[in-house]
């Protein structure tokens, strides 16, 4: 069977009309984009708080389910009481929150790695984490790279790269002995 050319039927709507569909759709899309980009939706769309914002929330943070994000402070990791509990400080360079976490941490967990912990603030000022997530930065290094710099290598949360470097930043971080 020979395949005839596909007919190009004139649509029922003429081009002049469908053009307005395009203009209207583009207008809606542009308005939505501008609203999201410039409309301050970020104020209401918060994935995690930094230590400073968590402190600022005060008593409101107690009992509420919150995500806290930041960097694991140098040398702060130590085994907590219990079998797989873990205690460490989360810092953003300006504020620090002590976190008590349950469960085995992801294998990338180490000093200066970015973390997002989900849990709640307790009355004694420590954050009780139910869920520990590790975030990594956008750097990918091969073992033999000439330009590997321990300091930049250890900067693990992109948000913190612009922030003041936390204390003892020059100390080469070593993988902490995490109680498991």
């Amino acid at each position: 069977m020979s395949v005839p050319a596909i007919p190009a039927p004139a649509p029922a709507l003429n081009p002049g009309k469908t053009k307005w569909f395009a203009f209207a759709a583009v207008a809606v899309a542009a308005a939505a984009f501008l609203l999201i980009a410039l409309g301050g939706i970020g104020e209401n769309l918060v994935y995690y708080w930094g230590p400073k914002e968590l402190r600022a929330a005060g008593d409101k943070a107690i009992g509420a389910t919150i995500r806290l994000g930041g960097q694991v402070a140098i040398g702060s990791v130590r085994p907590g009481d219990g079998v797989s509990n873990l205690e460490f400080d989360v810092t953003d360079g300006t504020g620090t929150v002590h976190v008590v976490s349950r469960g085995v941490p992801p294998q990338l967990f180490r000093d200066r790695i970015g973390v997002v912990v989900e849990g709640t603030m307790t009355r004694n000022g420590t954050f009780q984490s139910r869920r520990l997530m590790v975030s990594h930065d956008n750097r990918y290094r091969a073992p033999g790279d000439k330009d590997v710099d321990v300091k930049t290598l250890m900067r693990s949360t992109q948000g913190l790269d612009e922030a003041p470097v936390p204390r003892a930043a020059a100390t080469p971080a070593v993988k902490p002995q995490v109680g498991d």
Partner: protein
């Protein structure tokens, strides 16, 4: 009428894409070194990142098709729109799945509702929804106009996915640049990116041809064996209401 070029070029693109994916994946899995901290887990990057680039590219092509479809009313743009949106949904879904596989050993979770992940999931559902809309509308003209308009609106999520890691706190890291990725990882990434590009381009061309053939049967149904004394009015050809 399909010319010779139209008949073999898409298949050649598919073959080239698959070949490049073999080369790039072999390079990435066997030749390139593992990442300093992540080790072998990082190797999923060689499909995840090219999939992300191409998902954005496919949906951008769908957006362009939607505009051309509405401005020119040429059916070929509607056929390409359908093909591109299907490919965009497939790539976005693959992107989420690959991301989950990468996230479990690195972040410690398969999924979390962070801005990057959430907006990417929205891509899957938005464009999947438009495909469902197309499946439900029988009139080819209404289908073309409505889905093109919906595609233009849904496309707004594509730049939001891109900027999500810049605008908001997220678990997902920011975009890497060639400076932040070791040179040892560049070639497998590039090769696989072009592999997926050629693969989807070829598949979209083939799928658009299928859409064109279906459209032809819709707008010019076979003449009934025994015409009931009246010839089919030309105006009824595009109504499609009886289908």
């Amino acid at each position: 009428m399909t010319t010779r070029l139209e008949s073999w070029a898409p298949k050649a693109l598919v073959a080239l894409g698959v070949a490049l994916l073999f080369v790039g994946s072999f390079w990435g899995l066997a030749k390139a070194p593992g990442e300093v901290f992540m080790g072998d887990v990082q190797r999923i990057m060689y499909v995840h990142v090219p999939t992300a680039w191409n998902a954005m590219l496919t949906l951008t092509f769908a957006f362009v098709c939607a505009l051309f479809s509405l401005f020119t009313n040429a059916w070929k743009w509607d056929n390409r729109l359908e093909a591109a949106m299907e490919m965009g949904v497939i790539l976005s879904l693959l992107l989420c799945m690959q991301g989950a596989i990468w996230a479990k050993p690195t972040w410690g979770v398969w999924w979390d509702w962070d801005p990057r992940l959430t907006t990417t999931a929205v891509l899957v559902f938005a464009f999947g929804g438009i495909l469902a809309l197309r499946a439900f509308v029988d009139d080819p003209v209404k289908r073309a106009v409505w889905s093109a308009a919906a595609c233009i609106v849904a496309f707004v999520d594509v730049p939001i996915v891109y900027f999500s890691v810049r605008w908001w706190n997220s678990l997902h890291q920011m975009q890497s640049t060639p400076e932040t990725v070791s040179k040892a990882f560049h070639w497998p990434l590039r090769i696989n990116a072009f592999g997926i590009l050629f693969l989807w381009t070829g598949l979209v061309a083939l799928r658009a041809r299928v859409a064109a053939l279906r459209l032809r049967s819709e707008i010019a149904p076979p003449v009934p064996e025994a015409p009931e004394g009246k010839s089919a009015p030309t105006g009824a050809r595009f109504s499609g209401g009886d289908r």
